[in-house]
Amino acid sequence: MSHSLITPSVVSNTGTPALEIRGLGKTFPLGGLFSRDSVRALHGIDLTIGKGEIVALVGESGSGKSTLARCVARLEKPSSGEILIDGVDVLKRDRFQASRAFRSQLQMVFQDPFGSLNPAHRMDHFLRRSLAIHGKSGRSERETQSRLEELMTTVGLQADMLNSYPHELSGGQRQRVAIARALAVEPQVILADEPTSMLDVSVRIGVLNLMRKLRDEQGISMLYITHDLASARYLADRTAVMFAGEFVEEGESLDLLANPAHPYTQLLVSAVPDPARAGSYDPVRRAELRKAVMASQHCAFHGDPNQACSSEEPVRHQVGDPENRHWVRCHLYRPWAAASGHALASEPLPPSHPASNAQEKASA
């Protein structure tokens, strides 16, 4: 899958990246047994996460964020592409399902801390099982116990909470236990799928701060999936914007959100509620942005001799200083009508492109 001219950003710290995704694609079959229709949930995803780096993935519901997370976590089988952890293609190494070795390299933290902890067990149980399954228990009971207490301290909980049941803890505390459970395995990469969206607002920042602390102190890499642009800006080193199953823009978080180049990113940024710019909502501008997202007529980089551009293939353009590792996919390239209609839900569907649909079926 070489659809990009600029190779995915070079990670600043040298060495093998912690997680590398190359040309990942996923199609879901539609209809009955003999139907040949399919919906393309992911297409040509390239992403590199360096050691000790947090990358945020933002987009609206239906843009494919969670499908990407499920593919990377091997809960879903990708249709194409490679997932490299420490330079090893895990899809080739463990062909059919994720191995324990893979699970000890990559752990997940889910959205719902109320559903992800069994109510019948004490905190002690969750952490002990993580340790036992991955062979990380101590040689003696005392060693294991001190490891558990250390884990609790790391995530900012008191050791005596090991004896409590999930219902005795608040949402924020439960999410901390879920993070401790992931940490017990000593993973290289943590995949956090909307870890704060079910928490009370006042404790969300605490969980984000904890994730940042883990990166700073233990060098853990994270893929932080969220729909909240402000929290991506707060936590992540880099941010990638997803639209209709493809990345449309990526760059250093501060630069990307300050100078969004793709109309879809501009649309997202303009919609974040912010009292500092109250009353900035402009229906005319909104309609223009929507139109630009659905059917771009104009490429902002047209005429730049350094940028190769064509309306047939998506081309990545560099935005601003190369230091910001900020690129945007050509605005003129747009994904299939069906997928984009899903992502911008309140807009009526544009007329479908019969040619591209046929192409889609052929490739599926």
Partner: protein, 320 residues
């Protein structure tokens, strides 16, 4: 309470709540969900009620609509709407009061549409039941109503599943304002929606509010959204109001530590990346005293070493 004197719209309050106390009564113990809460909403005013889950904000909304069911009981206080005592209404008066005087949009309202009836049938239902119009007249008005929220009247024939989440939510808002209520209660109206759609719905509500001139009680946990929409707002914690003032004043100078924590929970989209703290895990305020005026029109519950207790993490304290 002097708060009822400060209102943004006209001086005649549409809704006046005084010392409302709601208890959930159990066999062995009871919980006070709303504790001596007073506020009023003026004509054409948007009043925001902010707070986290479990602070009692939805219980207040349900008390106003008289929707509380056992074991919840209004233990004390009064709710008056346009001079009428809501708590003393007969079932027949209540039936007219709901929807005609006060309408409510619930959090997952878009899922409250009946999946086997078209949007048109459901709107016509409101007009024939509450306003006594003929079917034909009702249908015409239903079309107008949808156009008011920028949905094509042809959509009257659509079933809910044929509309997107944002369109369904707009249809529900249209239904809420169908009978021109003087108060609209919005309980987290956009929580389940994407930001882009959320912003468009909020703009829609603002526009409707300017056009039809109703008052709004807006309930949410999203402070940024609340400050954008509301004229005045109150912050609730543990069943008590800890701070109330003009929304811009609360945004500019939050005075109560809990309000400050809520404000600090939303990282900004511009400026340098500064570390934020939020509310430390397990911190709890107890025995929140009555509000006192900290600045003109800005009421804050006194806090400090003796008045309200901020405790560090422990199991009882954190069981919120």
């Amino acid at each position: 309470m002097t708060i009822s004197q400060v209102s943004f719209g006209s001086h005649e309050p549409v809704l006046d709540i005084k010392n409302l106390t709601v208890k959930y009564i159990g066999d062995t113990r009871s919980t006070t969900a709303v504790d001596r809460v007073s506020f009023s909403i003026g004509t054409g005013e948007v009043f925001g009620l902010a707070g986290e889950s479990g602070c009692g904000k939805s219980t207040i909304a349900n008390s106003i609509m008289r929707l509380l069911k056992d074991p919840a009981k209004i233990a004390a206080g009064s709710i008056s709407f346009g001079g009428k005592d809501v708590l003393a209404m007969s079932p027949e008066e209540l039936r007219r009061f709901r929807w005609q005087d006060v309408a409510m949009v619930f959090q997952s309202a878009m899922n409250s549409l009946n999946p086997v009836l078209t949007i048109g049938e459901q709107i016509v239902d409101i007009f024939t039941t509450h306003a006594g119009y003929s079917r034909k007249e009702s249908m015409r008005r239903a079309g107008e109503l949808l156009e008011l929220v920028r949905i094509d009247a042809a959509r009257l024939k659509s079933y809910p599943h044929q509309l997107s989440g944002g369109m369904r939510q707009r249809a529900v808002i249209a239904m809420a304002v169908a009978l021109k209520p003087s108060l609209l209660i919005l309980d987290e109206p956009t929580t389940a929606l994407d930001v882009v759609v959320q912003q468009e719905i909020m703009a829609q509500i603002k526009e409707l509010q300017r056009e039809l001139g109703f008052s709004v009680l807006f309930i949410t946990h999203d402070m940024s959204l609340m400050v954008e929409l509301s004229h005045r707002m109150a912050v609730m914690y543990g069943g008590r109001i800890v701070e109330t003032a003009k929304a811009q004043d609360v945004y500019a100078t939050p005075r109560h530590p809990y309000t400050q924590a809520l404000m600090g929970a939303f990282p900004p989209l511009s400026g340098p990346r500064l570390p934020l703290t939020g509310l430390p895990d397990g911190v709890k305020f107890r025995n929140i005293p009555d509000l006192s005026e900290a600045a003109p029109g800005h009421f804050v519950a006194p806090f400090g070493a003796d008045a309200s207790v901020a405790e560090s993490a422990n199991l009882e304290g954190a069981a919120r």
